[in-house]
Amino acid sequence: MSKGKMTPSQKRQAIWGWAFITPTMLGLIILNFYPAINTVYQSLCKTGDFGKGNKFVGLANYQAVIGNTETWQSLWNTVKYAIVEVPLGIVIALILAVLLQNKLPGKGFFRTLFFLPMVCAPAAVAMVWKWLYNQQFGLLNNFFHTNAAWISDPNIAWISVGIIGVWSIIGYNMVLFIGGLQEIPKDYYEAAQIDGASGLSQFFNITVPLLSPTTFFIVQTRIIGALTVFDLMFMVMDKTNLALNKTQSIVYLFYTYAFTNSNRGYGAAIVVVLVVFIMITTLFLQKLEKKIVFYN
């Protein structure tokens, strides 16, 4: 569009356009952009007692956060959680989506069932799993005649929590995969069938490459989702849990400092570290996307 005078019709559009975006833009600036900058500013301050009187302390919070092994442990815990949740949640969801894509009596029933955990409050999900994992009275130990401390043994607690994550997310990933599968043209499979390709070879030679944009999208959103995990951790891992230190996620640590201990400057520094970590991960994933994703 050339600068200079606008025609009356362009002017009208401009006025309506700005009127329509004003609530959203104001909201985004007040509720998101200002807070993002404010968090960075607070991370440079020491929070006074009762949250009053911020004192500028420069990078002291960052020195404390980065110098604290707790931060790195939590970051590592979060990565470990992601290593359990993301691949398992994706592979199982893909298998289920492929099985449920064909004409099959009871298809709707299975889809409904697998998606069910998605509509449950995480607090309720965590409560039930904690009960299943209970060392003395839990269903798992009773059923398998074991005596594992599923969520208080530091060596396995991260896997136990990861499994809850997998159980919760399968249906969501599956729905996205089914959407992706529907977009693959049927002719590819028909041609492969005429050539005598087996189901498995069709899966690896047609489905996997043609589904790679969907898969990549899910991988990317799930990695970021897993890196910001909070609800499950918070509900499953009590403050008194022996494995807390080896399991709590970075957002859990942020919550503890910023809201339980009201040390907002320190909490803000943790969240900035997390955001930087996520940004680096995203950049890395985008580089990777160019190499491995197959676009038509």
Binding site: A14, I170, V175, Y255, V271
Partner: protein, 280 residues
């Protein structure tokens, strides 16, 4: 031909085996939750003999007890109000902005839209401390207004609706202009009704996200009378964590309404997530 048929049958059996195994895994927590909710605490924690079904009668009164003592009426009411206002605000602001970004030309549009895209890329945890301080300064802690605050606008919804509006044909606006509609009328009477499916997706997405949100309600509503089901449940666990049947009854009460809504509106849920599933 016979071998083809055999292969087909084997395939079907394999498929169902996998599906049934996963169904059982998915269902066990739900079944165990309901069964525990119907036992006495003594029975729930009796290891030996190990009961699966309640052996000493089915204690449906656990639900009634929990309903009253944890004030579920208030929790439901708070949650419904919270979800309602979040959905209304999100749909209203996003449909307006989405229309402007999708169909209108105005100076500064590109820059403004890039702000929308940037917001979508920033993890939301970075907003929370200042949002809490804002709610505190506005004196809306422990209120529905406080719960709704961070959700009155949505960058993600704006993006979703923009895509919805862009997919509509150009002739519609021209026809409306010939009929003498101004831009506001064209938006309200012609274009907005056509993006109904995007709005439903956004509505479901917003409702589900609000229902499942734990951190914000916990921070902004510390009072048990003002909080949501999710956060209320978290509080109960802290306070009454060893009365397992009561906890399970509370969990059932917290999730059943959403499950019923989901089963009724399954199609919309699944489509809503599939089309809007960018962020969660």
């Amino acid at each position: 031909m016979d071998s083809m048929k055999k292969k087909y049958v084997v395939n079907k059996i394999l498929t169902y085996t996998v599906l049934i195994i996963f169904s059982i895994i998915m269902l066990v927590p739900f079944v165990w939750m309901i069964l525990t909710a119907l036992k006495t605490n003594q029975e729930a924690i009796s290891v030996n003999p190990f009961y699966i079904l309640p052996a000493h009668g089915w204690h449906f009164e656990n639900f009634a007890t929990v309903w009253k003592s944890y004030n579920f009426v208030t929790l439901y009411k708070n949650t419904i109000l919270f979800i309602f206002f979040r959905v209304v605000c999100a749909c209203l602001t996003a449909t307006m902005a989405g229309y402007a970004f999708g169909r209108l030309e105005f100076p500064g549009k590109k820059l403004m839209f890039s702000l929308v895209l940037i917001q979508m890329m920033i993890p939301s945890q970075i907003f929370i401390i200042p949002q809490y301080l804002m709610a505190s300064k506005l004196h809306i802690l422990n209120s529905t207004a406080g719960l709704v605050l961070p959700g009155v606008v949505t960058a993600f919804g704006t993006y979703l609706l923009k895509t919805g509006y862009q997919s509509l044909p150009k002739d519609l606006e021209e026809a409306a202009a010939i009929d003498g509609c101004n831009i506001g009328q064209t938006f309200l009477f012609i274009m907005m009704p056509l993006t109904r499916s995007s709005m439903i997706s956004l509505g479901i997405f917003t409702a589900l996200f609000a229902f499942k949100d734990l951190m914000w309600p916990m921070i902004v509503c510390t009072n048990a009378q003002t909080t949501t089901l999710s956060a209320g449940l978290a509080k109960m666990q802290g306070q009454y964590g060893s009365d397992y049947p009561a906890m399970m009854a509370a969990a059932v009460l917290a999730i059943v309404p959403m499950i019923v809504i989901y089963i009724i509106f399954q199609k919309q849920f699944v489509e809503g997530i599939a089309t809007s599933g960018g962020k969660l």
